[in-house]
Amino acid sequence: VSARHRAYAAYALAAVALYLVLPPITVRTPIPSILLSAGAVVAGVGATRRGERRLGWAGVGFGVVAAVLAVVFTRSGVGNLERVFVWSALAAAMLRYATPLLFAALGGVISERAGVVNIGLEGMMLAGAFFGAWGADIGGGWVAGLVIGAVAGGVFAAVHAFFAVTLKADHIVSGMAINFLALGVTGYLFVKIYGDQGTPDGLPQVPDVHLPVGWIPFLGDAVEQLNLLVWLALALCGLVAVYLFRTALGLRHRSVGENPLAADTAGISVTRTRYTAVIVSGMLAALGGAFLSIGFVHSFNQGMTAGRGFIALAAVIFGRWNPGGALAAALLFGFSSALAQRLPEFSPPTATLFQALPYLLTLIAVAGLVGRSRPPAADGIPYERH
């Protein structure tokens, strides 16, 4: 058995250990789970001994966490567990929380594949959230909101592109500037336009899509009623994957991120590719922001993105600069948010602590896996023509 397989076995054992103590099985004693977790730790240690150190230690970590959680869960009431772990509701919430992340992460993939680090995703998302709400308000409909939101995100992105591409600024510093600017501009306009009242109650909303699938067990409940933008994000994920890896344009796009000199020599305009990529990325991030304001919480608050743009950036790295990977990462972070949201039913102070879970998970993901994933070779490096 190879080291890698031992590590995967550790993950599986830890997962089963957790599954046993949760509804619908809800074993009321932690002993089987602890035994399985011990097995996970042994398998993890085995993996580290045989060369897969990172994967192995992750397996050991999962095993320990699973054992601790198994003890916690078996000690709490079945009623509480059944209220928190309603799997279909959790799945639906996961998709909802993952959607803004997915939009922004797809933007990040597009931008970074062209060689521009876009840490301004957070600000572009915020711009989308505000201008989406404002556009829906004055334009009288959610379509106007989405269009105006996306345009606003594109404008902020164009500023980033101008500095990062034309002026050869440091991408990270320029991106952070975009975040501050967007925070200030959206806050300023929000106070100016809406004052103390906040956005109006009757803000037009992006509609939900009702699917006649309620009869399918589990899955039906989860996807029966989801926002249109959830589906749009999932569709765009496939579209971006096809574009980047199955079309000639996508190949050119990636070549600019990997080796701009070669791309330039081959007659591809590095500047135009990078500008387009950054602006499209800003528009995507803005759609994610607009989902927050007119698809999810039905209002705009100052700074409402709360670091989601940065989590999306982590999802880009975690997903190894692939749309599919970004989707998986967004779902993982979305799940942790969904869980954190339901935990107050358990114990309010602990639930507060769990609000940190998505951020902690992002930290672990970036620290644990970034070493294994390689960014596009020219990512974040301004292109100088010699």
């Binding site: 320029s174 975009i178 600017l181 200030g184 300023y188 106070v191 100016k192 102070p349 507060t352 970036v366």
Partner: protein
């Protein structure tokens, strides 16, 4: 090799070299000026008078206390305002230094906010939970605890960078949120360190009276200026010594400019990154202690969630060119701006404070944007060349 740095890596510090080296004081001055003018255009575009707005903000800062023609009546109010400005400048110096030192090591520390928060948490915990110690001892202990907590928080990001290559920008941002929610958990309703007497208020216990930093200018009851400003200036002096007169500073800067060359010269890049981030965290954590022991005295979860001081540190450091002296000056500018636009000091009939605080954010963003590329420096250089040619 300490971390999986890709070969030939260009750091933030080396890329901002143009801004850091060229143009003396002129470049940051013009940068700030351009940002203020652009901010004024925003004010103008939204139907207010930028000149009277800036004038009202300036009067709120208390800096008119320094002007010889200020009348003695105005001077009393100006003194109070200036005390508040310097009160805000104190943590800004420290979080600014926390960003500046990291920059010198080639790292972008966005975690000043989180390091500041863990510093506040440590300070309030020590100064409110330990009983039976003399006030002065408790105060020193609280400051040291805050510095240690901040240093640990910063070093964690540095260690993750050195050990796993995790980008410090993302890890420090995530650590900010972790610190925030940890603080909200501790002092929130039902939290382990929530106020023992007021069970319905999400706030910590109040610190012991003796542990407060002494006020030396103005009334202690009216939130006068505490001695923290001197501690912050002392820290700035220590940073100057560290960066310009010490081996440790040399090693940090060497890694900042070129980690590969530094490794070749026998400096362990990873170890320097951890060291630099620990120093940064220590400074920002101290900033948290200054605010807590100087004027807050207790920590409400709302304060933790709305505080932005660590983020202003980024603009402060960049505008101050990541030097100790520059950071102090830039901190004063932002302290004045924050105080001048506060609810308490800005006349709402001239300009709404809620708008003005967002204007500060815009100005901050513009400054960081203008620093990110050597636009102003290049422009000034071209201007000078043209002037020289013309004469």
């Amino acid at each position: 090799v300490g971390g999986p740095e890709s070969p030939g890596v260009v750091t933030v510090a080396s890329r901002l070299g143009g801004f850091m080296r060229s143009g003396g004081v002129a470049v940051p001055l013009v940068t700030a000026l351009v940002a203020f003018v652009a901010g004024g255009l925003v004010v103008l575009a939204t139907g207010s008078n930028p000149l009277s707005t800036y004038k009202a903000i300036f009067e709120g800062t208390g800096l008119n206390w320094l002007l010889p023609w200020t009348s003695s009546d105005d001077r009393i109010i100006a003194a109070q305002n200036l005390q508040q400005t310097l009160l805000l400048t104190t943590p800004l110096i420290l979080v600014g230094l926390a960003v500046a030192v990291a920059f010198r090591a080639g790292l972008f520390n966005i975690g000043g906010q989180g390091q500041y928060i863990v510093g506040s948490i440590a300070a309030v915990t020590v100064a409110s939970q330990i009983h039976g110690l003399p006030g002065g001892v408790l105060m020193v202990l609280a400051i040291l605890a805050a510095m240690a907590a901040g240093a640990a928080w910063g070093a964690l990001a540095g260690w993750l960078r050195a050990r796993t290559g995790a980008n410090e920008v993302i890890s420090t941002i995530m650590l900010n949120y972790c610190a925030l929610w940890f603080g909200v958990y501790l002092f929130g309703l039902g939290g382990p360190l929530q106020n023992g007497e007021q069970r319905s208020v999400p706030v910590s216990d109040t610190i012991a009276d003796g542990a407060r930093l002494p006020v030396f200018w103005g009334e202690a009851e009216l939130q006068g200026l505490h001695v923290g400003i001197f501690l912050a200036l002392l820290a700035a002096g220590a940073c100057w010594l560290l960066l310009n007169r010490s081996v440790a500073g040399y090693e940090i800067k060497a890694v900042g400019y070129n980690p590969e060359a530094a490794e070749y010269g026998g400096i362990k890049a990873g170890r320097q990154q951890v060291r630099a981030m620990a120093i940064c965290g220590l400074l920002a954590g101290m900033g948290g202690a200054m605010d807590l022991l100087g004027w807050q005295f207790k920590l409400a979860t709302n304060d933790i969630q709305t505080s932005q001081v660590g983020f202003y540190g980024i603009a402060v450091a960049l505008l101050g060119r990541n030097t100790a002296l520059g950071t102090v000056v830039a901190a004063l500018l932002f302290g004045a701006l924050l105080n001048g636009t506060s609810q308490r000091n800005l006349d709402p009939s001239v300009f709404e404070p809620a708008l003005a605080s967002n204007l500060t954010l815009i100005i901050q963003g513009l400054i960081v944007l203008l620093v990110s590329a050597p636009v102003i420096a290049t422009w000034l250089l071209g201007l000078r060349r043209r002037l020289v040619r013309a004469t």
